[in-house]
Amino acid sequence: MSTTTEIVLRAQETIPAPDIEYGQLAPVLIVIGAAVVGILFEAFLPRRARYVAQTLLSGLALASAFAAVVGLAVAGNASTEAGLVAMGALAVDGPTLFLQGVILLVSLVSLFTFAERRLDPRAHGRHVDSFAAEGAAVPGGESEKAAVKAGFTTTEVYPLLLFAVGGMLVFPAANDLLTLFVALEVFSLPLYVLCALARRKRLLSQEAALKYFLLGAFSSAFLLFGIALLYGYAGTVKYAGIAEVVADTNSGVTEALAATTGNDALLLTGGALLLAGLLFKVGAVPFHMWTPDVYQGAPTPVTGFMAAATKVAAFGALLRLLYVVLPGLTWDWRPVMWGVAIASMAAGAVIAVTQTDVKRLLAYSSIAHAGFILAGVIAATPAGISSVLFYLGAYSFVTVGAFAVVTLVRDAGGEATHLSKWAGLGRRSPLVAAVFAVFLLAFAGIPLTSGFTGKFAVFKAAAEGGAGALVVVGVVASAVAAFFYIRVIVLMFFSDPRPGGPSVAVPSPLTSTAIAIGVLVTLVLGVAPQYFLDLASQAGVFVR
């Protein structure tokens, strides 16, 4: 036997061939695969055919990925068959599948708003959507005019959307810190680009994207630094491994590292940096500064998608981190999260009162909601996990629906997002105003809407988890928040319409479907939430 073969054989003994569970990874693979195909479409299909091909491909991919998630859940992967896949890089368990299902459905609904082409007036005889004719063209420049005249549209948004969704699917499932970081970048980068692609108010849009990118890069750096420190602490990036070191039951650390592991300073600093990175994505105070500008500047369909899906994915990752990696540190992270939750609820609700732009208002409201969800996270009980899961599902549909309504109210300059322009909308178009009122009431947590059920679930979990004071703060913040939601309703119904105010564009069935789904989910989760609560509580167990 030659030495070469011997080396190869020996290598095979020590380096196990990766064993990939394609079945459990199917949702991710379908979405990422479709994104790659979408890029090929961009390269090879004629411009005319791209819109239809891309929307069909994206819709199909998201739907079949959702079907795969349902299939996995039915096969028991959420409970009995839950386990680690891809060499322990990902965990496919209840929370993963629940959140993946929510992300996919929300993305599908968002896709409808992405594909809407009837709202903007035709540009040179062609239907256009909310996205820039040519992303690379200088705003107001010659090449942009030429692109608009030629009727270009940016169909690249669909593969970008799919890549973002792919990253978001991995994010809550990530079971080691490196996968977490890769997933974060995979979904963040497409979002930065999407934010910059508004057709109207392009400078605002590009400013938003730049801010988002810079702050996002900053937070990624924090996250990465945290990962490095935690590696130094535990000698591994695997969640279970770190948890073992934290719990002091570790035995398998290599000798070379044994001397340096277990340094609490590394653990605490690393954990804090990691949390900072995740709280940035969640949009919790004090890492919320980007939210209003980005929400306002980004094209509204993107805002809706981002506000809903990013929050779901990021909270999923946060939950796993706190419950799987750092349960031994509960006494350390809890006070910090208390502070963050209270600050988020208070700041979000109070600052929102002074806002005059619908999108900024919803941005601050999302900060307050991040605080409410954190109240459930802090509970540190199984009921806490399932309440957060339920809240995320309920909240994301309300958000997508609300932003879809925002796209409808338009004047000559595009969407009319200044609140003063919404005056009297209830008289002009009672249906649209009533639908928006339903979403606002759900945000405010009025009974019989999903917002109330969700809020009740997280507050109940928090109260049982010994965070009664947090519940009181949450309730007071809800009262403040109710004030500005109600103010918008007052404006829509009790103010007289202004002459020359915005009109409500008649959308195609796409946006109508998106809004209808939003309203339906909001009401069903408010009136008959039992099935979904069961689903969330069955899904509330993390695999290690």
Partner: protein
């Protein structure tokens, strides 16, 4: 399974609301008739409930119980005691009159062309009234705390639109200022009540945490909690119980409204049309005082006893303060609102006197106050619609021009000041007697309220109805047929219940005994000097 009667009473107006809202824009008269028919059918169903209810039977009757949100331990649990039956009957009785009195209230909003053409005010107005009725009725029926809370909160939304969207357009300061005031009143109403409700929510969650902790499984069922407490399985810590009690009581005190949480009521009643004002004070606010009886006393007997001295004082302040401010009002509707605050003080006083006369009187008071305020306020509404002003100073000598209007107004006013022979006298007397047996000083102070009531009612009558006829009211028409149809039956009822309150007391008294036994209170024994 027997016919779910209680569900039917609540669902009928809810369905009616949807049907009314769906009537096409051109058929708005049909919408009015539909709403009236639905409210009458509800009245019939409520009457069936009242007849099927056996005063000597179980505490909660006609019960229905289904699991709703098992995760939270929430059940769809309905059941009525005598107090609830009386209040459901009151609600079902008043709504047809409210609808009839508000027959033309939304008309002025119709017919605006242009961008407003899709706005259907008439359908909206009547649908909202029916929606409020449905939610009020179900909150009287709910014996599950969570179920009650949901409708207690949800009824704010239709009420808010009724105040803000269909308010009075006869404000004293011009159209724009009136619109601003109206919007302000609606928002104030909503925020006060929402804040109260959210604080209650914290207490509701706390209650769940306590039951989950001690019974192993969280529950919101009033009966289950009361039984567990009486069996000694559930013991709340003193402080916990007091905090939870305060959370609940705060919400009910805002709703009732009790001084110093009352300030939304004059705005809300002043700026809404008379029928909506009746809906607020005679129907919706009763949920607050009713809930004090059912939930505060039932769930937290110890804390209720602890808080009684403070609440009695607050109630006395309400009585006197409301009456004094009523005397000082220049706006007729705000006057009625402050009078109501004074009356709610009596109701709360009766409840927390913790005697059978006091609580029985308070329950009767709720019903009688509903009817008498409805009479007074609806006639005030008719008066204002004729002259287009809410200010007392703009009237004078109406009784010479419109004698029937003035006469019925006087009857309504006399009922408000509790003239013997009219229904409110009975209840006010009972409340005072009930209070006096336990808190003699409070009884004496409360009696002052009656004197002040005479002042504000009679001065109002004198300024508006007597004296020389002002030129603006010279051509004022007397009550029309529709208006008489509204007023006459209610006045008849006031007189009937004034001389023969037995049917009502028969239903109410056993329920009051149950409530008193919840708080383990008995009437103080009359002291007799020992014979020598």
């Amino acid at each position: 399974m027997s016919f779910p009667l209680l569900t039917a009473v609540a669902v009928l107006p809810a369905l009616g609301a949807i049907a009314t809202a769906a009537v096409p824009a051109a058929r708005r008269t049909a919408a009015k008739w539909l709403a009236l028919a639905v409210s009458l059918a509800t009245l019939v169903l409520a009457a069936v409930v009242a007849f099927r209810f056996d005063p000597g039977g179980d505490r909660y009757q006609l019960t229905e119980s289904y699991s709703w949100i098992a995760d939270f331990g929430v059940r769809y649990e309905l059941g009525v005691d005598g107090i609830a039956v009386a209040l459901i009957a009151l609600t079902a009785l008043l709504v047809p009159f409210v609808i009839l009195a508000g027959w033309h209230d939304a008309d002025s909003l119709e017919g605006e062309e242009g961008p407003n053409r899709r706005w259907r005010p008439t359908q909206g107005f009547f649908a909202l009234i029916l929606a409020v009725e449905a939610m009020v009725i179900i909150s009287f029926e709910a014996t599950d705390v969570f179920l009650f809370y949901i409708f207690f909160e949800a009824m704010l939304i239709p009420m808010y639109f009724l105040i803000g969207g269909f308010g009075d357009r006869a404000g004293p300061h011009g159209e724009e200022e009136t619109a601003k005031q109206r919007s302000y009143a609606a928002v104030k109403f909503l925020l006060y009540n929402l804040a109260g409700g959210l604080i209650m929510l914290a207490a509701v969650i706390g209650l769940y945490a306590v039951t989950a902790d001690q019974l192993g499984e969280g529950t919101f069922s009033l009966q289950a909690i009361v039984e567990a407490r009486q069996a000694g399985e559930l013991t709340m810590g003193e402080n916990t119980e007091r905090l939870l009690f305060l959370g609940f009581f705060f919400a009910f005190a805002v709703k009732a409204p009790l001084w110093p949480l009352h300030t939304w009521l004059p705005n809300a009643m002043g700026e809404s049309t008379a029928p909506v004002a009746v809906l607020i004070t005679a129907v919706v606010d009763k949920v607050g005082t009713f809930a004090m009886l059912r939930f505060c006393l039932g769930l937290f007997p110890g804390a209720s006893e602890w808080a009684t001295p403070v609440i009695v004082v607050l109630a006395l302040v309400s009585i006197i303060y409301g009456a004094l401010l009523a005397i000082g009002q220049r706006d007729i509707k705000r006057l009625v609102a402050y009078a109501s605050i004074s009356h709610f003080g009596f109701i709360v006083l009766g409840i927390f006197a913790m005697t059978s006369q006091g609580q029985g009187g308070a329950t009767l008071y709720m019903v009688n106050h509903g009817i008498s305020t409805a009479v007074l306020m609806l006639i005030v509404g008719f008066l204002i619609s004729r002259r287009g002003s809410r200010l007392i100073a703009d009237y004078g000598g109406v009784q010479k021009v419109a004698p029937v209007l003035a006469g019925t107004f006087l009857v309504g006013g006399l009922a408000t000041l509790s003239l013997p022979g009219l229904a409110p006298f009975v209840s006010e007397f009972l409340v005072l007697v009930g209070t006096f047996t336990r808190y003699p000083a409070a009884g004496v102070v409360a009696t002052l309220g009656i004197v002040l009531a005479a002042l504000y009612v009679l001065v109002l009558y004198q300024r508006t109805m007597t004296g020389p006829v002002r030129p603006e009211v010279e051509r004022m028409p007397d009550l029309r047929k529709r208006e008489l149809l509204v007023v006459a039956p209610l006045i008849a009822l006031l007189i009937f219940l004034g001389v023969f309150p037995k049917p009502l007391t028969d239903i109410v008294n056993p329920a009051v005994e149950h409530t008193l036994s919840d708080v383990r209170m008995t009437d103080p024994k009359p002291e007799v000097e020992a014979a020598k």
